[in-house]
């Protein structure tokens, strides 16, 4: 305990320097802005801003990037509640009840609860990161390639089980993602795989390109089909920002449960914040006294997922900082940012660069505090920004996406590839295939292949190594168990009920 306090004291002494405070504030503000704007997610923004952080000191750069990330979790809820379009993938479920509340003129309390819940979750998660960092680092030493592979397999299965819709279709989407991630140069031999001698494909398909296509473009194409009312922006004035006493009582439990669920799921590789928000919503609805209130503007339906996604966004740093595994796409970019500054993510960060590790952890708490202070007064600004009609908003989002994709490599071909994925995403939606598992498979694909290869090589071609090594076997066992449970008809039915709007 004393050790923890002295670590945190070191962290705050790093995070509270004026420059680092400024980086944290910039990160949080940019994060909120991109979170509010649908179509440009935190992944794209962090990817775009990576080159700018070259010139910053490593701690400042990582503090700013982290700020963008959790700031976006905050901002995403604003768009979900006011426009019924999730600003971030993590705020998808927030639309269900948040937009209903906004329609009833209760956008203010919904936004306030989202902010309060996020702040609470952020505080708890920061303490968790600090407390769990050290023990997990020692666990990392027990992990070999077989364990890493099994851990990622478990993460993917988790994502499928908790996602909506058909189980087998979700599994098929994961494999499609894995397959797509194979395009490009082979890691070991450098041979081009499925590149068809197209130079733009030799580096592989960019993650941002796929994500913007499948989520951004496809979403807009689909929105254009709907009638104007479905996505009409709340025109009613946002009156009374403060939640009532009853609102606070109702949501207190949901915030607590959301925080716990989010913290646990954030640590698991595979989905982090997205899954956490879905799981927290599912949990609230299933155990609510009046489940029928959900989908009709229940404040718990906003409080739980918003707390969960913020908690998960922060605990997602645990596997990155301790095991060196990025649990999601943003964390994968953080690996890139660390590598730029000559830091190899993994167990050695905490011992060799304690000021970096603890400085980052402490800055998260400061960042969350800044978010609640800057966000509640700014809600009015965001609202007026979102009152722009969709017929003007969607070309603006599209153009933003084009420039964003183009800026990553200055490659026009990337924009075209994103268009292909946009059409693919539209097709997937029409056939009720979920795009989220595809993205996860795509992110984890190269890592899984690398560890699979290594594990097989070490075991001299013996496949049973994944089952006979205790940790690996346990992880795979849990994965199989989850699949069986999810396949049971009774649970399947319940799972589907959650998403009936």
């Amino acid at each position: 305990m004393n050790e923890l306090l002295s670590h945190l004291a070191l962290g705050f002494s790093v995070a509270a320097t004026p420059w680092n405070l400024l980086f944290c504030l910039i990160g949080a503000l940019v994060g909120t802005l991109i979170g509010v704007l649908p179509g440009i997610g935190s992944v794209a923004t962090i990817a775009m801003l990576l080159p700018i952080t070259f010139g910053l000191p490593p701690v400042g750069a990582l503090i700013m990037l982290a700020g963008i990330y959790y700031g976006a979790q905050y901002g995403g809820s604003t768009t979900s509640i006011l426009v019924n379009i999730p600003g971030e993938a993590t705020s998808v479920v927030t639309t269900l009840d948040g937009f209903q509340m906004a329609k009833q003129g209760r956008a203010g309390p919904a936004l306030a609860i989202a902010a309060i819940g996020s702040f609470f979750a952020g505080c708890v998660a920061t303490v968790l990161v600090a407390a769990l960092g050290a023990p997990l680092t020692s666990m990392a030493l027990l992990f070999g390639p077989a364990e890493y592979f099994s851990l990622m397999a478990l993460g993917l299965i988790f994502a499928v089980v908790l996602a909506k819709g058909s189980l087998i279709k979700a599994l098929a989407m994961i494999v499609t993602g894995l397959l797509l991630s194979m395009v490009g140069s082979d890691l070991e031999t450098g041979v081009g795989r499925m590149t068809f001698d197209i130079p733009e494909l030799s580096d592989g398909i960019g993650f941002v390109t796929v994500a913007m296509g499948v989520f951004g473009f496809a979403e807009i194409i689909r929105n254009l089909e709907g009638s104007a009312e479905d996505r009409s922006i709340v025109q009613a004035k946002v009156t009374g920002l403060m939640p009532t006493r009853q609102d606070l009582i109702n949501s207190a439990g949901a915030i607590g449960r959301g925080t716990i669920i989010g913290s646990i799921l954030g640590i698991l590789p595979g989905g982090g914040a997205v899954i956490a928000s879905f799981a927290a919503y599912t949990f609230e609805k299933r155990f609510a006294k009046q489940p029928q209130r959900f989908g009709n503007g229940a404040i718990e339906g906003v409080a739980a997922p918003e707390s969960a996604n913020n908690a998960a966004a922060q605990t997602a740093f645990i596997p990155l900082l301790t095991l060196g595994i990025p649990p999601n796409a943003v964390m994968a970019l953080m690996v890139g940012a660390m590598t730029i500054h000559g830091i190899v993510p993994g167990p050695q960060v905490m011992t060799k660069q304690p000021e970096l590790f603890w400085g980052m952890v402490s800055s998260m708490w400061l960042g969350n505090l800044m978010l609640i202070v800057i966000n509640l007064p700014l809600v009015g600004v965001w609202v007026s920004l979102l009152r722009v009609p969709y017929r003007l908003l969607y070309p603006a989002i599209l153009v933003f996406c084009y420039i964003g994709i183009y800026s990553i490599n200055n490659a026009p071909a990337d924009v075209i590839i994103a268009a292909v994925f946009g059409v693919l995403g539209y097709w997937l939606v029409k056939h009720e295939f979920e795009p989220a598992p595809l993205i996860l498979g795509f992110v984890l694909g190269p890592l899984m292949e690398e560890n699979l290869r290594r594990a097989m090589l070490i075991a001299r071609g013996d496949v049973t190594v994944f089952i006979t090594r205790p940790i690996s076997g346990t992880l795979l066992g849990i994965a199989v168990l989850l699949l069986i449970l999810a396949g049971l008809p009774m649970l399947r039915k319940r799972r589907d009920e959650v998403f009936v709007e």
């Binding site: 397959l179 795989r193 089909e225 924009v415 946009g422 056939h431």
Partner: protein
């Protein structure tokens, strides 16, 4: 989801009437096609040599698994009653795709400003609600905003105007 999009479109051909869930059946078939394409295109890569994976091992492994899933999904779509195909919109996807291509083609030779404005206007054609005067003004504002944000604030090395 709009009601008209749920209209049955799969019941025209006699063969199609046998399929009990066209949505899953054709979805599964498409995955099978993708898997076969991946198998074919990774066919020339080296596979396992001894204990170690070759570059072609993992792609073919994943393509094989996808093939199996595709077959199962298609078979279930054939046997188990499910949803009909949804109607595809043409206008939105068409104009948005054109807009993307125009941006990709013009951003290098013409620069950011013409490319942004042109693609903004073209994407506007994707919605029947677009009012052109309003969209033109918004296009100008958006172009100025993009230049300020990306070129001046983020200092990205974009060319703004055509270079002769």
């Amino acid at each position: 989801m709009p009601e008209d999009a749920k209209a049955q479109t799969g019941a025209r051909l006699p063969l199609a009437r046998l399929v009990r869930s066209p949505q899953d059946f054709y979805g599964g078939l498409a995955l099978v096609a993708l898997a076969l394409f991946a198998l074919w295109s990774s066919g020339d890569l080296q596979g396992m040599h001894g204990f170690s994976f070759g570059p072609g091992t993992a792609p073919r492994l994943f393509a094989g698994i996808l093939l199996a899933f595709g077959v199962v999904i298609a078979a279930m779509g054939f046997l188990v009653k499910g949803k009909p195909l949804e109607r595809y919109a043409v206008r939105g996807p068409f104009w948005i795709t054109i807009s993307i291509i125009v941006f990709a083609v013009t951003v290098r030779p013409l620069g950011l400003i013409p490319a942004t404005f042109a693609s903004f206007m073209i994407s506007g054609a994707g919605s029947p609600e677009t009012r052109w005067i309003e969209t033109t003004i918004a296009g100008v504002v958006m172009t100025v905003f993009s230049v300020l944000l990306f070129v001046y604030l983020l200092a990205l090395p974009f060319q703004l105007w055509p270079r002769f």
